[in-house]
Symmetry: D2
Subunit: 385 residues, 4 copies
């Protein structure tokens, strides 16, 4: 069996999640290529070495440019903050490496466009690029897409999406990198809002065409994080982003991404209402999907709580018997499973960089709407030249 | 339109619930007879007068014997504690009055047999008797019965029934009449256990044939209630009754009735598992029924939360638009609705006294099993002579 | 005990609900005045007579002007469509009658202003006016307000409110009056959107200051209703209204009112996130309130499902033991309970016409925003002259 | 860092789950020993080789006697059906290997006693033995134990435990080994009933002292499994086992284990009611624990849905941020984490073979009760000689 030799850049939260996926994927799924965890790269030598040991990588490195230059690697997995995505991804593709890049694709539309263009070129050489919107690979979400795609809820009229967290409600929570615009690009919007934009476009098969938005920063100043605990700094990103949208299929939508929803830890919730039925999902109960089938006899209609753990549910045949739940990390295992399968068959994986650019264009429209207090049309993606 | 002139004996909790039903029934349902709230009867003249005023009765009385002797009454509604049911009911039937008797039918099998015999005789004269197992008239329960009766869950294999309350967890809660065997007959068993016995036999259409049981009294001594607050008295009934059972259709069952389930206020829960599906009900969410249909496509199977508020659900056309809930008291309104309809059409209402006797026989078997630590067969009902 | 003699105008859905409340209120609550159901008024003599008989009114009438002119009435209860509210209410107040007016207060801001002005004048003569936002009187909602008002969730940051119904998803559902702008004023916005505007302002104690909105009509043509079944007519109101808002306390909000949320029957849901906790309510489980208390030990924090049926919960001491649910209609009983208490003590009931005018101003801002695709400030209420 | 060299016997469902645990444990937790997956053993050479490749073992073997004789192994992990547990475990302990043995410990009390005795002897030589009741290591279960142990629910009065599955409802489902007494020992009782016996004793800290039980086999004949598809065979185990029990702390309990609960896939549910509160757990929502605290103000009491994903919840600091769920397999990872920690510190892991013997004694009492229709006392464990 051939190998897919992986170099991963970044080893924090996302790096740990991706490592678990790479370690596990070939033990759960039968695939034509075997993932090999060749090298992990981080700026600090000691911490990178520790990460390699802890997360299961064969070696470590400190310079991503050297990593992408190696000829014994097939794929670069980018798990760094958003401000470095574009540079690494474009260079890796140019070096002939497949790329998996964490979301959001970039911190700006300009960068995202450049990345999508680079991916389009690479594709002509059989080099694949994928953006890591892992929630698409939650089995309940994949089932939701199936139900919509096969017409089970009819024409989608309403999209209702929230992504609710609460980890910075405490005003003494420090000014970490995710709260700095220069590193993170935006706050709740790009971090978690991006997920619900991608997810809802994915499950509906429709694109957002225009938005009206507001953003808010409730706590504008926070203590600087250790070790530089010398006073406060400015929060330069949004704490919350709310917007209404219209989709190209005729649906209307509400979106909300916030880090101030006290008590909601990872409350990604999506409901779609269609002419024939509805579906509802809550990530805090990620193994369940609710499906309302309005074509059943009236007296028996209701929201059907499907426990998405049957062998004929997406991805689930690889795991445990029905009723035995899977967790957050499995979405990443499914993601790299699909990526490996795409690479092995020389097909484009989804979501592509172009898909992720489109999400970026929506985020950009949200920011422009919030800044101007006006409805804003999502810019067209433009064909890569 | 003819009248149904009602005299009610007892005006505490059940009396208030029945009053609300009699007041409301003709405003919600179109019926051939109009209920007239003629007289309420209680031992204390002043309290009975106050009850009449508060609950909407035309007059009050203090002697139930005089009430049943009146020739301007058509029905006697018995809402007293269980130790007086038999005497009042038998006398009222003998006096040619229809009878609605609260559950449990009696405090002993002997009394219940006497009452069932009296009801059988009265029936031959067109006089009807009904026992007030009001939960049969919760729309979700009636729908459960419909689903089972029409074969939607196939052969019933499992019955799982609990009735959980917590109002006497505090050891300082006083020794009210419901905790005294001489008045109440038994504790949790007869008070709430009776409900789940009746309800499960009703919805399955099967009868319990044998049981193995335990009963327990966790707090055996309690303060005497006001005004006699002079020390403690013995609790002479069960705090909790648990039993396993076999039903004549082949199902096996667990039952539990307790007043010590901290946090469960009126947790009457029933689940049935059949060869083709399952149904589950929780009275604390009494407007919902969960239905699992194992004949649907595997990937769409799940517990379907039916909001039982559609016009084509049992009793619901009389009330509000779909999604507008009804409450506990509506079960009594439905009960007297069905009773009025039965009387008007000269049909026997259900549950009959014979049905209620059968429940009493089950309770008796439970008590004998608990006393002897042995499996006990439920005695046959015996045809009334 | 004194009487409060009531004349009710209109006897459809709302008329039935109000009748149940007037019939029940003095049997559930001890009040200084006894409601007397004197007369019900409807345009058609025969139907009004039938309504009087069915709903329990002493007499019926066909001309509301004659009703308000009677000197044996104390209060006029207006249950007609919105296009007649202003004329009846202003005349009734002028005739010295207390007024209970269903929501929305009026079909236009101009009418609502006139009504609020009339109510202000009447108030100086001891004549009271109240608008029927009944959901304020759901015990769980009243408890939510208590928790917010006593600081249990801290500063409110997020309001998330939807009112989801599905009764016109079928394009063959006829063009009833609620779908005609000339009678109903607006569609989902005024009918159910008004409820969530009032409810969220009530529980937060904050007012909406500006909005950005969209409205949509998914099915623009429908069959004319019986008996005039001759072809189709235009739907002239919104099927759905969505808006973002800012509140004067600093919170940001999403609102959605729709009649196209397949499977959601009466899905009024409100969640508030504050700096110290959160509360969440769903009318389809109206006896429950979820409360997250972020001041508890971290490992024990969670959404606490309070069954709002304890005697120390708002309004509940009048009803049944803990765990015994109440229904939709009880909100109206509580409403008239509070109204009677206010009248008896010569205090202004809430929500006043001025409160309801403020809701109308929000709805007006929503409509203007939807029409102009711009953020719109809610107009100030202006002191009545 | 030292190694813990593991040989695993059996590579079906449990073998796959254990493999995932061994592969993952050192990447999630910082431990003094590193697990090394040395060899997997199965009867069929080809299948064992495939399992080694798929599950990540360095080598494979076909004779467990040779495996336990190897001097380059430290631990034997027994994942075979119950009929072989005793022989392998006793031999492995005698060979100086630590042992992890899947539950139920054995197919008979006699075997279990022998194993417990062997473990006691081994313990004196620093050799550890543990039985794999993995559900103890679900964080929500561990939290439940903490709450009970620290007195948060007071004296436990009620235990209510079910383990509901439905995988053999179809009468055409074949006669697999789990339905044969000679291999599996018992049916639902030993397979899943064992789990709820262990779990409830673990979380309460109390032991079952006596039981009254029934068992039932609904489908007594089934098709022989492939490849021997030549007709039917007898089902020789229970499909369902139900029992009442008394615990040594004074609590009363209901238990039910069944494979005929249509729609319930892995419905392990436990509720405890105590004098000060209650806890409730459902494995189908394994990341949640419901906790009712009766010492809070009455109007705020409710079942608190704790999302057991906080860093200060048991085991969770090793995983993802709050709100990011874990799955079934994590319970095994936690199990081997605790086992490794115990071995490294030369402490006895729990549950010990003696603990598992006690569970076996309860199962034995259940079977004897079901056979004799009598209450049966659980036999004392007897001190190992």
């Amino acid at each position: 069996m051939g190998q897919l030799r992986v170099g991963m850049v970044g080893h924090a939260f996302m790096g740990a999640a991706h490592s678990q996926a790479w370690r596990t994927v070939n033990h759960a799924f039968d695939l034509p290529l075997s993932a090999r965890m060749s090298v992990v790269c981080g700026r600090d030598d000691q911490r990178a070495a520790a990460a390699a040991a802890k997360l299961g990588w064969e070696s470590h490195a400190t310079d991503w440019r050297q990593v992408i230059a190696r000829d014994d690697l097939d794929l670069v997995d980018i798990c760094t903050p958003g401000d470095t995505h574009a540079e690494i991804a474009v260079a890796a593709l140019a070096a002939g490496k497949h790329v998996l890049c964490e979301k959001p694709l970039a911190n700006s539309v300009a960068e995202a466009r450049e990345m999508a263009a680079a991916a389009a070129v690479a594709q002509t050489h059989g080099i694949q690029a994928m953006c890591g919107f892992n929630y698409r690979r939650v089995p309940a979400v994949a089932l939701m897409r199936q139900l919509v795609a096969t017409g089970r809820i009819g024409t989608v009229r309403h999209v209702r999406a929230v992504y609710l967290q609460d980890w910075i409600v405490d005003p003494e929570f420090p000014l970490v990198w995710r709260l700095r615009k220069d590193v993170a690009g935006s706050g709740a919007l790009g971090d978690i809002g991006a997920h619900i934009v991608d997810l809802t476009q994915f499950v509906t098969g429709n694109l957002i065409t225009s938005v009206t938005a507001l953003t808010e920063t409730f706590v504008r100043e926070r203590p600087l994080p250790a070790p530089s605990l010398s006073g406060n700094g400015q929060v330069t990103v949004d704490d919350a982003a709310l917007f209404l949208a219209r989709l190209d299929g005729g649906a209307v939508a509400t979106y909300e991404a916030t880090r101030f929803a006290t008590g909601r830890k990872n409350g990604l919730r999506v409901e779609l209402n269609g002419s024939l039925g509805s579906v509802a999902f809550d990530f805090e109960r990620m193994n369940e999907l609710e499906f309302y089938d309005a074509t059943r006899p009236t007296s028996e209609q209701g929201f059907n709580r499907i426990l998405v753990t049957e062998p004929d549910h997406p991805y689930m045949a690889a795991w445990w018997p029905a009723g035995h739940l899977i967790g957050y990390e499995h979405s990443f295992t499914h993601e790299v499973r699909d990526l490996i399968a795409a690479i092995a068959s020389n097909n484009a994986p989804a979501p592509s960089f172009a898909d992720a650019l489109q999400v970026q264009l929506v985020l950009d429209a949200v920011e422009r709407s919030a800044a101007t207090s006006a409805w804003v049309a999502v810019e067209p993606e433009l064909a890569p030249v």
